[in-house]
């Protein structure tokens, strides 16, 4: 919204992206134009349910694999790695 909205900077697959504080990592991945994961047969997938039940938005965050990124708020300097 206004100029007072705090922003957070993080990296998605090495590309810097700036999003509103409180955003989910799933949203940051979308802002970076990326998708979250590759399915078992290699299809690109990204967030579907937005509430932590479908597991489609999984990515590696700060070195930890299989994180549901819709449940995870962004933090300054976070490193996100997708397989999309």
């Amino acid at each position: 919204m206004g100029a007072l909205t705090a922003m957070v900077r993080l990296r998605v697959d090495g590309h810097e992206v700036e999003v509103v504080a409180g955003s989910s990592v799933a949203a940051a991945i979308a802002h970076a134009g990326a998708t979250a994961r590759a399915s078992v047969s290699g299809q690109r997938r990204t967030a579907l349910c937005g509430m932590g039940v479908c597991f489609e938005c999984r990515a590696t965050v700060d070195g930890r694999a299989q994180q549901r990124t819709c449940l995870l708020p962004v933090a300054e300097g976070m490193e996100v790695r997708t397989r999309g």
Partner: protein, 433 residues
Amino acid sequence: MAERVHGCDVAIVGAGPAGLSAARAAASHGARVLVVDPQPAPGGQVWRQDVRHGAPGPARALRARLARMGVGLLLQSEVVGHSGHRLFVRRGQEAACIDYGALVLATGARELLLPFPGWTLPGVTGAGGAQALAKQGWPLRNRRVVVAGSGPLLLAAAATLRRHGAQVLGIHEQASSRAVAGFAAGLWRWPGKLAQAARLRAALWNVPYRTGSHVLRALGGDVLRAVELSVDGRAVTVDCDQLACGFGLVPNIELAHMLGCELEFDGAHAHVRVDQWQCTSVPGVFAAGEACGIGGVDCALVEGGIAGHAATGHGNAAARLHARRRRARGFAARLRTRFALDPALHALAGPDTIVCRCEDVPMSALAAYAPGREARLMTRCGMGPCQGRICGSALAELGGAARGGFRPPIFPVPLEVLAGFGDALPSGQSQEL
């Protein structure tokens, strides 16, 4: 030993309206109350925090009140198992336990998502899913979005998407114009709902709302480019950046099932059976809100109140809410019949359409096997990390077997967390987790 053991009189699973209302009622009698929820902020889905617009007024007021009452909140925490009166909770990479006297299940609902060709393309989300993602800061400015599926949630989702700058191209409700008109005509009995409908209508005044219209397929190479819809019986293709498509809600009953609570069926989907005190078939375990059958925020608030009073032994206070509950459930019953799903939706998925998104199992792979266990064992359908929450409910809706195969842990748990629960298990009961 588990890293943290939290003791309380009343543990509440779910920090949506039902859980927060239960917390207020229980804490008003002096009980030590702990609310646990996997999301980073309380509110559940309907009161979800919006990164740009905050949380709704009633949610903020209730949260402030609970903080003053000293109610504990354990966020980003997921209940994965139990043993006796102890819940096992995953907190990120840590194990925690909650020991409780009484338990209130306010586990809410998830969206019913049905398979159709192209539904796995990035850009296709649930309708409630799109709303949740919008509030999480999902990029929507000037994105072209088609909203489809069924129920009043489509309007709420469309309004949220628009508020975040999306260009909503149309809302496609599968129910007939007669059913929708019948629903609207009965709304005068619930003035709050009527006002809400009027507000949404005003916010969406220039967005086409089509009844008897549903998605046929999503189109695109590896991301969504367009949607083919059935409109007035004809196939129409619409270019878009996002499709928000949901067919209603399904109660989250996994924890209730694990605890041994009796379930009952409302069509294809189970909900928790409760008595007039919101008590389940397991003494000391209560349930409230969507877990007891889809009813919306009014049911959640009143049932949470009843459960919170009853869980602390205050039947009189609970009984005073019974009339309000009857009224709220009356609205829910209306919702269910008016937005019943068109059988045509059962035939959307083709043989190549993936049903189980975790394991990429196409519809054709299931044909050779009996629905349920045999199909799971032979195809891995429903064996992935979502544990059949998406495909199992979809297949139940499409006329297959009721979703089954529940087994703890009810969400995937990393080994290091599982190991953290080890010493917290009473001896000889390790098989329960």
